[in-house]
Amino acid sequence: MRPILMKGHERPLTFLRYNRDGDMLFSCAKDHTPTLWYADNGERHGTYRGHNGAVWCCDVSRDSSRLITGSADQTAKLWDVKTGQQLFSFKFSSPARSVDFSVGDKLAVITTDPFMERTSAIHVKRIAEDPQDQVSDSVLVIENPEGRKRINRAVWGPLNQTIVSGGEDAVLRIWDAETGKLLKETDKEVGHKQTITSLCKSADDSHFLTGSLDKTAKLWDMRTLALIKTYTSGVPVNAVSMSPLLDHVVIGGGQDASAVTTTDHRAGNFEAKFYDKILQEEIGGVKGHFGPINALAFNPDGRSFSSGGEDGYVRLHHFDSDYFNIRI
């Protein structure tokens, strides 16, 4: 498996997202410019210019026409995927951390960080079909859901009825997407022990995977919030992803960037580790980054995946045929 190195960002990667057809890969980094790549050969297609701060997260609509990005410049922006044109900008009074389109792409959930006097918040925006009609009013705002703690990721639950959020207080919460009422939360016993850094939904919205700095990734039932599986890694987890094709999960991370030793790059363990989703056993690892892995994404066809690191590289891996015959 020879990776394709995609060097287009000047700062650490933050997020990776494939479109539904699996031919496009969107990458976000701290360098203000989300970038679009051909998911096949790793060529750069174009960039989305307009943000004035680190871009934390993005999502692409089902028909690959719209892109939404959340940035530390306190805005979330809508883009025309094809032209790279900015369609709309939602302004907040604190950095936007995570964005997610609903089923049908008519709604988007955006989370904002605690900043100055402001607490963290979950905003639900209606996305108009015609960008001319777009308004910046929120359909729903859940204020202060985790107090002063940051929410790192919020996504839609099945049928847009719920919103699932996780962040610095290590608790996963399910909110009613209509009323904003708290429906469920994980208890301390089974839940994560430290900051939840990443969250990845299964293709059918039935379950999701979370990664945490407590060196574990956990698999949850999206409707009941029941813990299904736990995968232990030796290092803090920054990114998680699930194979849509095989029963594999991949988790990545590594020693905190500020604590990386200068002696040997192996010390940090900057490896994308593959686990058997059902047996929770480690299958193998993909090395290559020389900084912690911050983002992971599977191609929807399950035949390639890409990883983005603190080192500023995106590495695109097309699996060899032996990968599909792994037996343990």
């Binding site: 089902r62 609903s102 089923v103 049908g104 008519k106 099945p158 049928l159 847009n160 293709a203 059918d204 919205d205 039935s206 379950h207 060196k215 039932d221 409707r223 299904i228 030796g234 290092v235 849509p244 094709l245 095989l246 029963d247 020693q255 604590a259 002696t263 040997d264 192996r266 010390a267 940090g268 363990n269 989703k277 059902i278 047996l279 066809d301 399950g302 599909f324």
Partner: protein, 709 residues
């Protein structure tokens, strides 16, 4: 709790204070309201000190009875004696006088400034001979009540019925002859059986620091109030406690009869030396045999490294199981104590000017000592062997232009290697050589060994346990050489001979197997945990591997396994790995905040060397049984494993089915959310599944060719 808080809490619980009759509440009797404190041990361990205010007064008995005329003279004598030991308070000395005769009564009271001074004065002058007939009997004033209450008549102590103790060495009778190891990580201390297949923990405490006794019978833990030893047949129970507040370090005698505990206290005034207290306990009875107090300076000479204040162990025990002697090095003297009386041998220390290091032979009561050069090289440095208790010098060697010496005893006490660092002629740098003493031979011959390249730096040295060989790492970093030497060969008899040199190894530490023959050349620290498992008999490498960032390496006591560990000095990948003797990775155990790993030592084998040899010869016969057992177990385990996996898969299938049905139910709802677009994801997924399951085996082409001969 503030009143407001109480009110709000009461409100929450639905209690109306006005309705509550406080007098009707009956609290359970007892000071603790019937609630047992869970830190019971703490209270009982702490001996409360009652401050009567008389703690600084001593009573001196057996004074001469003198008339009034001599009163003042005696008083002056006493003042002279006691003001050396502490500050006597003003009017602090009171000698009662018989009002009828005007004669003194033969005793006096002395009040010091502090209780410590009083204690000190008591210890130093009890038994002081003023003259032949007047030997002081000194007591603390506070002790008098207790002393007065001693019954006049002697009561025979009741004989307790004999309770057979547990077999403290039961772990040795383990059917699979497994070894145990203790680990400390985070707040847990755990004891494991070394077993790749069953990694179950035996039990755990939550304590600070642990250490095995040399023969593995006890595990000692350190607490605020002192040390405790644990042991037992099946589980670890506390066998004995040794009271020593804020104990910092412990050390066992080699036969585990005695335990030495150490405590040092930082002085209030930073210019003073810190105070050190060392106690020697009898392990089995828990009785304190002797304690030593003093400033850290008295204990700080000799020995490399150690803790601040004193070098540990302060007391070095003579080899062998008898635990007869222990020695302490201090300035210009070596104090050797014997355990029968816990006093100095012949009541005298051995005077050796400027001695800096002493080492016991591991098996005999022979002490080796090193004295560095004096007078700018006029007086040579000296290494000497001294027999204890006779204090006869068995052998000595003078060495010239020496900068430093280090002594290494071979584990069965047959050889002593002294690494000598000498100055070169210019005195700018040093080079090293070895002086090898053959202790068991007549007249103790000494051989001088120099490395092939004299200028090589010596990085590590290690004797083969119970063997005649030793290994040296020498040369320059980062790729030093490793050489092996033997003290005995068939051709050369009693000559040291080189067996071979391995060039350019990534190693900086040597770890011999406890049974000899095998050695690990380890590259710790800058080498990131390179490990080379080496067979010295065949002079061949068995395996080269790596435990990344490894900080600690320890062989199990039987030489079958090796544990390598990454301790909490590194942040990442803390935990330990177990290898077979030939470098095969057996299993890993990752634990955050990993502090310590220690194998449980085994007592020496009872088998005679001949018997051992016989077993080694017929190893095949013996090992058959174990191989069969192994096979059975691994079959069973793989069966269990399969079962477990099957169960997991089934459970997963169940979930997925449930999800699928929900997915099906919501299909229409989803379609409407997508403005009627047909959701086709499910079908795609099914297709993908099928692709995965089908396996093809196609014969593409078959051709026949004649092979030419």
């Amino acid at each position: 709790m503030a009143e407001l808080d109480i009110d709000t809490r009461a409100g929450k619980l639905g209690i109306d204070w006005s309705q509550v009759n406080l007098d009707s509440i009956q609290l359970p009797p007892g000071e603790n309201f019937g609630i047992e404190s869970d830190d019971e041990g703490v209270y009982h361990d702490d001996q409360l000190e009652f401050d009567t205010g008389f703690g600084n007064i001593i009573v001196v008995d057996n004074l001469p009875v003198v008339p009034k005329t001599k009163f003042e003279k005696l008083e002056n004598v006493l003042k002279k004696i006691y003001s050396q030991l502490g500050v006597i308070k003003e009017k602090g000395l009171w000698m009662p006088v018989d009002p009828n005769t005007g004669m003194t009564l033969g005793y006096c009271f002395i009040e010091f400034n502090t209780p410590q001074e009083a204690q000190n004065a008591k210890e130093k002058t009890h038994g002081y001979k003023l003259d032949k007939s007047h030997i002081f009997a000194v007591n603390m004033f506070d002790d008098f009540d207790r002393l007065m209450n001693v019954k006049e008549e002697w009561e025979a102590p009741q004989t307790k019925p004999y309770v057979p103790g547990e077999n403290l060495q039961k772990w040795l009778t383990d059917e699979k002859a497994r070894d145990q190891l203790v680990t400390r990580s985070g707040p847990d201390t755990e004891v494991f059986w070394n077993d790749a297949r069953q990694k179950n923990t035996e039990l755990y405490w939550t304590e600070s620091y642990v250490q095995w006794s040399p023969l593995g019978t006890y595990l000692v833990t350190l607490h605020k109030q002192g040390a405790a030893v644990w042991g037992g047949a099946d589980t670890f129970t506390r066998l004995m406690r040794y009271q020593h507040n804020m104990v910092k370090l412990v050390d066992f005698s080699p036969g585990e009869k005695y335990l030495v505990t150490y405590h040092s206290q930082e002085p209030n005034n930073p210019r003073d030396a810190s105070k050190v207290e060392i106690k020697v306990f009898d392990v089995r009875t828990g009785r304190m045999m002797r304690d030593f107090k003093g400033s850290a300076d008295e204990f700080s000479i000799g020995g490399p490294g150690g803790v601040a204040g004193a070098s540990w162990p302060v007391f070095r025990w003579a080899g062998g199981k008898d635990d007869k002697y222990f020695a302490k090095l201090s300035k210009n003297t070596i104090s050797v104590y014997e355990t029968e009386t816990f006093g100095l041998i012949d009541k005298k220390s051995i005077k050796v000017d400027n001695v800096v290091d002493v080492c016991w032979s591991p098996t005999d009561s022979i002490l080796s000592l090193f004295v560095p050069e004096q007078g700018g090289g006029n007086q040579p440095a000296k290494v000497a062997l001294v027999q204890i208790p006779s204090k006869v010098e068995l052998r000595q060697k003078n060495l010239f232009s020496v900068s430093d010496c280090k002594m290494y005893w071979q584990s069965s006490g047959e050889y002593l290697a002294v690494k000598v660092d000498r100055y070169t002629k210019t005195k700018k740098s040093t080079y090293s050589g070895f002086e090898l003493f053959r202790i068991k031979e007549r007249d103790i011959p000494i051989e001088v060994l120099e490395l092939d390249n004299k200028n090589d730096k010596i990085i590590a040295f290690a004797w083969e346990p119970k063997g005649h060989r030793f290994a040296v790492i020498h040369g320059d970093q980062p790729r030093p050489d490793v050489s092996f030497y033997t003290m005995k060969t068939t051709q050369h008899g009693g000559r040291v001979t080189k067996l071979g040199t391995l060039k350019a190894k990534q190693a900086n530490a040597l770890f011999w197997s406890p049974t000899g023959k095998y050695i690990i050349l380890a590259g710790l620290k800058n080498f990131n945990g390179q490990l080379e498992f080496f067979n010295v008999d065949e002079l061949e490498t068995m395996a080269t591997t790596e435990h990344f960032m490894a900080t600690d390496i320890e062989w199990d006591p039987t030489g079958r396994y090796v544990a390598t560990a990454v301790t909490s000095v590194h942040e990442m990948e803390n935990g330990f790995t177990i290898w077979s003797f030939n470098g095969k990775l057996l299993y890993r155990n990752l634990k955050d905040h990993f502090f310590q790993l220690a194998w449980r030592p085994r007592p020496p084998s009872f088998l005679s060397p001949e018997k051992e040899e016989e077993i080694a010869k017929n190893l095949k016969k013996y090992s058959k049984k174990y191989e069969l057992e192994d096979q059975d177990v691994s079959l069973l385990l793989s069966e269990q494993d399969r079962e477990k996996r099957k169960a997991l898969k089934e459970e997963w299938e169940k979930w997925v089915k449930q999800w699928k049905s929900l997915q099906e139910e919501e299909k229409l709802a989803r379609q409407s959310l997508r403005d009627g677009e047909v959701s086709d994801e499910e079908e795609e997924e099914d297709e993908a599944k099928e692709v995965k399951e089908v396996e093809f085996e196609d014969v593409i082409e078959v051709t026949e060719e004649v092979v030419q001969e």
